[in-house]
């Protein structure tokens, strides 16, 4: 198939790359025949069961999406519930079955149609908007009576790489697609700007385009496409170069671990629409509030070693579980990345000096934790369990090679296997490695095979590379702007993106604006810093262009030292402000 571009009306911004999936809305064959008197009770039972099933489907969808939707958008589910629990409506259907001796699905259809036609002739345009919803409920109930293909079964083939094409979008379908975190949705109708379906997908940050002929979409079923809702285009069978341009712009979405990063109005996007996730580093639970009030897109780093620094002894798994869960709950829909204990020579642990053996071999990060397996296992257990309350990423400090990751994954698997099925299915935990020494960089390819994302520990890496002690670094030095160091960080980003894994930077480098713009130029997906710095960073991101930051990066990599780099970046930044 040759490259084709279809246009439409974009109603939810963003871009997505994926395979087109034409979602067939099969019409249902309704049996209009009569039933025997003796079967009436059976029909009524079928109706009751189907209504309960429909109600459960709604509760399921609304529970799953509640945290991700604005309160206002969740009201649509309430309306659905109210109708399904409306005993007058249900009794009317039952009366039809009894009096007319018809099948349950026929009775539902007749009853819904009579309401719809009454509303159609009314002159209230607001009420008319509810017609789609009422029809949707009718067809859900009917599907559940007949027991044919329910939405659930239809949705099995859909994944987060699908761009869904649909003839008529309903809020229900929008929610179901949203739950699957699809790359985008294109509809022929049902997706006007103020429709519930559009509101839901906007809340979820999923691109949506309205008024695209379903027939044309069906013809391109299975083809790769780019849905660009910033410009209102669906590009079918784009060339490779185009995909890579879009994928580049789109990377920050890969990082969002399922779509939770996208908070309306508060996120930061460059002028050329590259989303940069800006998160908070925290060392105690109260800092969560600070993160929330500064519109953090999540907690990029929980420094657990500092969290417990004042405890007389290391909290046990249960206590840790309570603390992590509290943080995760406080952040509601936003993700939380928790790093396991990072024992380094410059970090003092009142807790450990008494309880833990002394760090004889100068082991660092996760390698040191491996000498304290009971402590590590308890901590991992607590972190994994906190993931039942939200989006959690677990990161391991100073990973040297893939064996470090395989070892911790073994621990995680044991913990997950001991959970009951229900908890296990709810669990959404991502695993990341902090790359912060030469060994980690050397082994980055094999490490990347086993993790969901990487985080670059610029502080430790810099210390090792410059041979300087971290304590001696003063801010004015800005050694992290040294071209050699920038090349090392850029290399990690490139490797990670080659494998489609996102990259975050949580060190001081991320919180320095002149370094942050260079990280953005490298394609870093997420920056994490002290909560108070977030707002200023987001404001800056909205002013710069990703393209330009890449150009500046190329330019500074040719410089001799960090001072020259700093001059160039600052000059550029001044020109923007």
């Amino acid at each position: 198939m040759a490259k084709t571009t279809l246009s439409g009306t974009p109603v939810s911004n963003g871009t997505g790359v994926g395979k087109i999936y034409a979602f067939e809305q099969t019409s249902i064959e309704i049996n209009r025949g009569k039933i025997k008197e003796s079967l009436i009770n059976e029909e009524i039972l079928r109706l009751d069961v189907a209504i309960d099933k429909t109600l459960l489907e709604i509760l399921d969808l609304s529970n799953d999406l509640r945290q991700r939707l604005e309160a206002e958008s969740s009201l649509i589910f309430e309306a659905y519930k109210t109708i399904l629990e409306d005993k007058y409506f249900i009794n009317e259907i039952k009366d039809l079955i009894i009096i007319k001796k018809i099948f349950a699905e026929n009775a539902v259809d007749m009853c819904i149609n009579s309401y719809v036609s009454a509303i159609e002739i009314s002159d209230n345009a607001y009420v008319k908007q509810s017609i789609t919803d009422i029809k949707e409920i009718g067809s859900r109930i009917i599907r559940n009576i007949i027991g044919g293909k329910t939405v659930k079964q239809n949705l099995d083939d859909i994944d987060n790489k699908s761009i869904i094409g649909v003839k008529c979008l309903t809020p229900w379908l929008a929610a179901a697609f949203g739950k699957k975190n699809v790359s985008g949705v294109i509809a022929e109708e049902g997706a006007a700007y103020f429709s519930h379906a559009a509101i839901i997908l906007r809340d979820l940050g999923i691109p949506l385009m309205n008024k695209v002929s379903y027939d044309l979409v069906m013809n391109s079923n299975g083809h790769v496409a780019i849905l660009d809702c910033n410009n209102g285009n669906l590009i079918i069978e784009p060339d490779k170069k185009e995909i890579s341009v879009y994928k580049d712009l789109y990377k920050s979405r890969i990082f969002d671990l399922g779509g939770f990063f996208r908070k309306k109005n508060t996120y930061a996007e460059t002028v050329d629409k590259k989303r940069i996730v800006v998160m908070a580093n925290i060392s105690n639970v109260d800092e969560c509030d600070l993160a929330v009030s500064n519109s953090a897109d999540g907690i990029g780093l929980v420094r657990t070693e500092i969290l417990f620094i004042n405890s007389a002894e290391m909290p046990d798994e249960k206590q840790q579980r309570a603390i992590y869960s509290k943080i995760v709950k406080k952040m509601k829909a936003e993700p939380v990345f928790i790093r396991t204990l990072d024992a380094g020579e410059d970090k003092i642990f009142s807790v450990f000096t008494s309880k833990m053996s002394i760090n004889h071999k100068g082991l660092r990060g996760i390698r040191f934790s491996f000498t304290q397996m009971d402590v590590l296992t308890a901590q991992i257990g607590a972190i994994v369990h906190s993931a039942l309350f939200g989006q959690v990423g677990i990161t391991f400090p100073m990973v040297n090679d893939v064996n470090d990751i395989l070892k911790v994954k073994g621990i995680i698997n044991d913990i997950v296997n001991r959970m009951d099925d229900k908890s296990r299915s709810k669990l959404n935990i991502k695993i990341g490695a902090v790359i912060e020494n030469r060994k980690g960089i050397e082994n980055i390819d094999s490490i990347l095979e086993e993790v969901d994302f990487i985080s670059i520990g610029t502080n430790d890496l810099l210390q090792e590379m410059q041979g300087a002690s971290r304590k001696d670094l003063v801010e004015s030095d800005k050694l992290y702007l040294h071209p050699d160091f920038l090349i090392a960080v850029k290399y990690c980003c490139m490797k990670s993106h080659e494998k489609g894994k996102p990259v975050s930077v949580c060190g001081e480098m991320a919180s320095d604006i002149s370094a942050a713009v260079l990280l953005i130029g490298m394609g870093v997906d997420s920056l994490s810093m002290h909560p108070a710095k977030i707002t200023a960073h987001k404001e800056l991101i909205r002013k710069i262009s990703y393209q330009q930051s890449k150009e500046i990066l190329d330019q500074v990599l040719k410089m001799l030292d960090e001072h020259e780099v700093s001059d160039i970046v600052n000059e550029w930044l001044r020109s923007l402000i």
């Binding site: 002159d123 209230n124 509810s130």
Partner: protein, 89 residues
């Protein structure tokens, strides 16, 4: 059984949100409650019933209550319909 004529004045009329809130109010009473608009009459405790009337701003309706607490039902619901409905959508 008692009834009362009411004119709906808020801008969006009984749209889905307003209707949903109204049926909650109506459901608090034991009495059977209906709303009549022209020739159509619908149960005021049913969301679909209320929506099917398509009550817009400026519509004249008749509020009907029948049952032990009909008196308070009529006066409370009338007050709600004339001054309790939110503006806009």
């Amino acid at each position: 059984m008692i009834s009362k004529e009411v004119v709906i004045k808020n801008q969006s009329g009984l749209d889905s949100k307003q209707a949903a809130m109204f049926i909650q109010k109506a459901s608090n009473f034991k009495a059977g409650i209906w709303i009549e608009k022209g020739e159509r009459k619908a149960n005021a405790k049913s969301l679909l019933g209320m929506l099917s009337l398509g009550i817009s701003s400026g519509t004249k309706i008749v509020l009907i209550a029948d049952g032990e607490d009909e008196q308070s039902a009529i006066s409370d619901l009338e007050r709600y319909l004339t001054s309790g409905l939110a503006e806009g959508t």
